[in-house]
């Protein structure tokens, strides 16, 4: 590589890193507890187990939901969610003042499907994990915060690519993984930066790019609502808003299962929420194998008449977001994978801090070099400069 090309890559690496480093540090630090959210919930005694009654539930899903709504009166249902793999027999219910209420005002209930009892209904307040979550996702600044972090993530990706471009020329004459401890502190830090940077490269790139993709969820959802969803419910455009009692939830689930045989129900979005139209239950079906469970297909069921309206594959951009999520969260390979995720995360923190140190150290070294140059240069030059300044 030519010297000029190296210099260009160096500047790209320096500036993209400098701009994003503090935000990336925040993301790495807040992300660390989020990796273990299930384990932390469990430790804090927040996780609940369903009663160990075997057999089919005596209660319909409608009844379970009614019990949830009785627990917090005056609310509307927004979303229902199931997790057959890790929490069988439980139904997760999201309630709010209205279907269009912001996510911050949501109430979450865990219901036992076999007894129609409330297993858990945490108070709607910020706890440590939620603060970590909102800092990580949007810096407590809503969609603009989220998109801003997406841009920082994009800079991080450029920093990774430029770092790799520099790695080759720098390491050309050296062995992989050397740490020069006997020379200057700067070289020692540079070597640490290089070895950790190159080893975490693939992981950091995958987690970085899937993170950036995730920040685009809101605009992607808007695009879907304005595009495919609007098309699917075109005939409902002139219909008055829904009033009164909704059609049966159980019947809607059955309709969706008939439309997508061999698939499981993952979650239900109620009419008026972000994930549905104003007149439909959107029943999101997923495949039953680890691979196909990432492919989500919503069936729209008229929430007044209970009739099946339409079901289509989600557009590619929403599929991309859903498929990218596990690769960001690291929650798809058990506890060992989470520990590996945490180690990579900590290594990335060290890469960021050592990069920052190198920038400071280089500036300091340059300033010292300049001071030496000035000191050694002829006093004539200096006095000439002073004279010039006086004239100005």
């Amino acid at each position: 590589m030519k010297a000029s090309a190296i210099r260009t890559w160096f500047n790209v690496h320096k500036w993209t890193s400098l701009v994003c480093t503090l935000f990336l540090l925040m993301l790495c630090v807040t992300g660390l507890p989020l990796i273990f959210y299930e384990e932390i919930d469990h430790m804090l005694g927040k996780e609940v187990e369903a009663t160990a009654i075997q057999g089919e539930s005596r209660y319909s899903k409608d009844q379970v939901l009614e019990a949830a709504m009785r627990h917090i009166p005056g609310k509307e249902a927004k979303y229902l969610f199931w997790d057959q793999k890790d929490h069988p027999g439980q139904m997760f219910v999201t309630l709010a003042d209205s279907s269009e209420a912001p996510i911050e005002a949501d109430h979450y209930l865990t219901m036992d499907e076999r007894t129609a009892k409330v297993l858990d209904a945490p108070a709607n307040e910020m706890d440590f994990m939620l603060i970590m979550y909102y800092l990580h996702v949007e810096m407590l600044a809503g969609i603009p915060g989220k998109l801003f972090l997406g841009f920082m993530g994009f800079l991080f990706l450029i920093a990774i690519v430029s770092g790799v471009a520099l790695y080759g020329p720098i390491m050309k004459r050296f062995d992989f993984g050397m740490i020069r401890t006997e020379k200057s502190a700067r070289l020692k830090w540079l070597d640490l930066h290089n070895v950790l940077g190159i080893v975490t490269l693939a992981w950091a790139f995958v987690v970085g790019i899937t993170g950036v993709i995730n920040t685009l969820a809101d605009p992607a959802l808007d695009a879907w609502r304005a595009g495919q969803l609007a098309e699917m419910v075109a005939s409902y455009k002139e219909k008055p808003p829904l009033e009164g009692k909704l059609s049966s939830l159980d019947a809607a689930l059955d309709k969706a299962r008939q439309a997508a045989p061999g698939m499981d129900v993952s979650f239900v979005a109620y009419p008026g929420t972000l994930y549905s139209s104003k007149h439909h239950y959107a029943v999101y079906m997923i495949g039953t194998t680890p691979l196909t469970s990432r492919i989500i297909k919503p069936a729209l069921i008229d929430a007044k008449t209970g009739e099946f309206t339409d079901m289509r594959d989600l557009p590619w951009y929403l599929n991309t977001i859903f498929i990218s999520q596990p690769f960001h969260f690291g929650d798809y390979g058990g506890l060992p994978m989470k520990i590996i995720w945490a180690i990579f995360d900590i290594a990335t923190i060290i890469v960021l801090i050592s990069g920052l140190y190198l920038w400071f150290a280089r500036r300091k070294a340059k300033a010292e070099q300049l001071a030496r140059l000035l000191k050694n240069s002829e006093s004539l030059t200096l006095s000439a400069v002073t004279e010039n300044e006086n004239q100005i």
Binding site: G333, G334, I340
Partner: protein, 47 residues
Amino acid sequence: MPVFLAVITIAGLLLAIMGTGVWHYLSWIALFVPVFVMTRHSIKFFR
């Protein structure tokens, strides 16, 4: 070495999504390689 590490990391990330059980074990083994390599080399820094 860097190329090998990148390939084995990506393989580890993909293996776990293919299934549970043996897929998870293979994934953990693959991902342990870069973790081991970076621990072994960076330990010199802290000594």
